[in-house]
Amino acid sequence: MRAGHRSATALVIVLAMMLVWLLLDGVGAVNPIRDTLTGIIAPLQLVFGRALSPVTDQLEALGRGAELQRENQELENQLAELRSQIILLAEAQLENEDLRRQLGFKSAVPNFQLIAAEVIGRDPSSYLHYLVIDRGSVDGIRLGMPVLTDAGLVGRISRVSQSSSQVMLLTDSQSAVGAYIQRSRATGVVQGNLGPDLVMRYILQDETVIIGDIVLTSGLGGAFPKRLVIGQVVDVRQNDVDAHQEAVITPAVDMSTLENVLVLLNYDPGGLLAEP
């Protein structure tokens, strides 16, 4: 009985402490403690993740043997197709640059300064889509910086500690990115939907959206540079009584298998986000 009473008291004390703690967190008073704990736990996550990754990779490969074989064949076909496109694009770029030089324009290709980072952790909640990377303020990471891979946009830096940072993925319900459809130039906002796919909202009804369309960042709002690949349209939801139509987009980057990312260092996210 006495043990039960003591346990109940302990529970009340823990919950009261947590309430105070959450209030303090709301005003940012616990950030130094959180940063200290992150400094201790982030290296442990790095070691733990690296130690177990060969085992998990093998298990995953075993479970997806047939699927991987088919995927590999498809990728080989795509690679051959892309190689031929690259040659054509390289030619077009040379021609484009030559014409721009003649007209006295600056290069339209942005000069990205990128830093590579390893994914060391993930948000354990089913409601939040965030990553932890092994680069922090000492590496020049600042709040709001865009995060990408060679395949496309991943998200943006949402919290910075000394040696690690947190990345809000495009798939998080809080994420919203100004975007346009490459073919039709129709604009909208790409939002996370708590699932693997994204939703592009606020596309005008008279715009044409086709399955397979490529979606790029519009640069509107200043949070991301223009022309970063977001993904591809896989479904269109159109209702005549609505002012706008929606498109379901599969991200160009598979967020569930990300191991390494790039952080864009020399992009100022429009002063929309405060310094950490």
């Binding site: 823990v14 703690w21 967190d25 959180r34 996550q45 354990p124 919290r159 319900s173």
Partner: protein, 179 residues
Amino acid sequence: MAAAQHCIQGRHPIGLYIAVPVALLLALAQTTVLGNATVLGVHLNLLLLFAISWVLRRGLSEGLMIGLLGGMILDVSSAAPFGTWIASLAVAISLAALGEVNVFQGAWFLKFGVVAGAVLLVNLVSVTILRIAGYDPILLRSLGRVIVPELFLHILLMPVMYGLVKWIVNRIEPPAVEF
């Protein structure tokens, strides 16, 4: 002194020396290798399964320690306000402690009822805190989309985790003397 008190109550303090490292490893796994994996679109909460199984076998005090330390690791990796995981685990663990002392102790359905209640409480507490912190109302609409697969998944895995915890506890507790 604390060790002596534990022994008087029939709880050997060695339990904590085993439970805490296991809980920390499970929390690290949840934020690293298991963080990549989703089943039915949701994450597996091994720490919760371990904590409530431990509480059912060993009592609330040790369970709270597991929740506090394991939850701290989850909180550091989470974008939720710091303490969300500790608070939600503490509430779920306290529910599991009711299972330890009630008249149905030992009944086969008890652990399923406890895990179902714990999953519901963890989700409700974390979504409430996220809403208070200003996160999108999409969370409330998604509650059902997350809770149903989480209930299914955790109820399915509970016998495995409970069996493991029972096996560990049987090795650290002296066998009960029966007359």
